[in-house]
Symmetry: C2
């Protein structure tokens, strides 16, 4: 299953099977049960995660104690608190498995060593961060442009894979809505 990462590399750069055998030891392969915590707020963030199968949820807890998702990661997505990761500083985000999840972990130090040894992976990471940043600009647009109801249906219609796998309350949280509001607009549309 780690070959999913090789296939993902090869969407952007050219990595041979032999090279991948040298790349893989920089990573640790792990699995998490549904709802298992992978990393916690308050500790130094020095790892990033690549999802092989399953789904991860990065969220924070508001002052009032509710949990709000800022990013999901499904297969072929990377996830961490990137600013904290770059600076190896404490993160304010938790990362948790939404469902049973197989993933690869790399530490910041190993990541930097990997990039030094295989500089062509810089292009891969440049590409994935550029796409992630570009997508976040579009998300800002949606959050400002659409009504709450439109945001919800836009998301579920454009990302049906997410909408079917991720519990409603997490999708609501990711979109800045309350679960009650989502139940209401879903009921309205069904009727």
């Amino acid at each position: 299953m780690p070959k999913r990462l090789l296939a993902h590399f090869n969407q952007y750069v050219s990595i041979s099977e032999e090279e991948f055998m040298d790349i893989l030891p920089y990573f640790e392969r792990k699995t998490a049960r549904k709802k298992e915590m992978i990393s916690r707020a308050g500790v130094s963030c020095d790892q990033t995660y690549f999802v092989l199968e399953g789904c991860l949820n990065m969220y924070f807890t508001t002052e009032k104690g509710s949990e709000r998702t800022v990013q999901f990661a499904i297969e072929n997505w990377w996830l961490t608190d990137d600013l904290a990761y770059i600076n190896k500083q404490p993160t304010e985000f938790n990362i948790q498995a939404v469902e049973k999840t197989a993933y690869l972990v790399i530490s910041h130090d190993q990541h930097m060593k990997l990039l030094e040894r295989f500089p062509k992976l810089e292009k891969y990471f440049r590409s994935i961060y550029q796409i992630a940043y570009g997508a976040s600009l579009i998300k800002f647009k949606f959050l400002q442009d659409l009504s709450k109801e439109e945001i919800y249906f836009h998301f579920t219609e454009n990302f049906p894979g997410f909408a079917q796998r991720v519990p409603q309350y997490l999708i609501a949280s990711f979109l800045g809505l309350t679960p009650e509001y989502v139940s209401e607009i879903r009921a309205k549309r069904r009727s």
Copy 2:
């Protein structure tokens, strides 16, 4: 002034003055008057911009006709609609100079050629996109975690350079607030 880009490269990678002489011709140096349009929604996005001096504003027009900022760029920041840029597709964003602005432009084709010729610049762009993406995750957190009033004062207190240079109505738009609301909370705090 283009040397600002050389200095910025050298925060992340090592580029000599000689190399920079070979890099610079990939860019075009331009200036824009205050409020001048730099690129428009509806056309194919095949350029990205590096601000040497001044400030650029990327915004879209809502269905109701109001303008909403999704990103500013001041000195040493890159700005474009990255997803449209990667795919050379039409953008829904306009880019306009907030004040008199000197900037460098590179086309997508020239950018890709530059990266092929100087692969070490992949590391530079990997770093800047990773930072930009990391910052957007933090922005999502603030938008979900803080009240509208807290969002405004958090922004102006943490980025005083922006708050002093950028007109209030643009800051309001960037933070998803109305100019009237910003006037109100500023008046409240002064009183």
